[in-house]
Amino acid sequence: MVFNIQKYSIHDGPGIRTTVFLKGCPLCCQWCHNPESQSAKPEVMFVQSRCVVCGECRRVCAFARALPGEGPLPPRVEGCNLCGECGEACPTGARQILGQRMTVNEVLEQIAADSLFYDESAGGVTISGGEPLSQLAFLRGLLQACRSRGIRTAVDTCGFACTDALLDVARRTDLILFDLKLMDDARHRAFTGVSNEPILANLKALDLIHKNYWIRVPLIPGINDDTANLEATARFVASLYGVVQVCVLPYHAIGANKFRRLGLSAPLDGLKPPSAEQVRAAEEVFKSFGLRVGVGG
């Protein structure tokens, strides 16, 4: 289940890349900037600014007849079976069905179209999400197919997966992008919905077999940017062997927009991105532990 294939990705690993976003994630981080990646099922996304209020979506919807009112449908219609008629009928693309079942070959075809740029820039494909390890068979198949075409791969993971699956995938890919959010387990549970214990255990297991991974730390003001958490994260990362670099990813408010398009309210609505000084301070913490740090990417 794929929700986006993004060409000329330059912030998700080395070189010019294509990022394949898989749908479905075991975490539900409050700051998630791709909330449409959380559910493993297709979803309706509604972009208000594109809507011309023609009412075509309502006219073709089998479930809307029971709904009061006129004009465009709300993003979530009760009883909706995701038939996709409303998206087909929408003349401006304001209403879209996100999430498409694709085969390895279909995805590979789109990836391979940019091979020349990967060769030129030492880039490749990044498989992200959602959580790619939640679609293990597809992920393995895609990694295998890329490898046989000579396309380098990276897998972007939240680390919440079966250890055997992670290690198996690590052996089939060139680079792992591993996210670390919060070191305190109670806070991790509160803000992401799951415990960080399996994530940290997986990272240690990965460290023993894989010598090429990046740690990505989203920087969320007021949630994980305190010195105690950053130092605990840096200390943990510094104890590992195979870390190439740490990427600090400053929070941005753009994802909040996407919650609204899905008909949901954003849990952190109104939260401001960290200032340049805050980002620099976080960078310094990681540097003080002797780690290589980058911002973004």
Partner: protein, 149 residues
């Protein structure tokens, strides 16, 4: 396809077209995609443009638009250079870039149908500028001005 700046004049004497372009409006610049037709990003534009035999054309012009964040770091610049080299490897002839200014973004906010292709890219995320809410558009415009482009 002429590389000189005549798309405005040619447009002014061309009637309405089936793609929705109204009579008298400018055509696209040289071999660049028609305004709003670039929906798959720079690598797709370059591959389409490289499909023709540039030797037979007497010169081509490809204009591309980038947001400043794409080229703000050394890493971003390196990747940009790789993109251009890729085009020349496919026997492309000439490409020029506009790194958009705050003014372009204001124009995009006012006329979204002309600027559907403006993409905002960040780690693990991308979106079309025109689909963002007013406040976010404002924020990005302010940031662009601050960046000094």
């Amino acid at each position: 396809m002429l590389p000189t700046t005549c798309h405005v004049y040619f447009g002014s004497v061309t009637g309405a077209m089936p793609d929705g372009r109204k009579a008298g409006l400018p055509l696209s610049e040289g071999i660049s995609p028609v305004q709003g037709a670039d929906r798959h990003g720079p690598t797709a534009v370059i591959q389409s443009a490289a499909k023709m035999d540039h030797v037979k054309t007497g010169g081509t012009l490809l204009n591309m638009k980038f947001t400043p964040s794409l080229v703000a770091t050394d890493d971003g610049l390196d990747k940009w250079a790789h993109l251009v080299r890729g085009y020349f490897k496919m026997d492309g002839h000439h490409v020029q870039f506009n790194v958009v200014t705050a003014d372009t973004l204001r124009n995009a906010r006012a006329n979204p149908e002309q600027h559907r292709d403006l993409i905002i890219r960040m780690a693990g995320y991308s979106d079309y500028f025109c689909d963002l809410s007013q406040e976010l558009q404002e924020e990005i415009i302010a940031r662009t001005e601050h960046a000094g482009f």
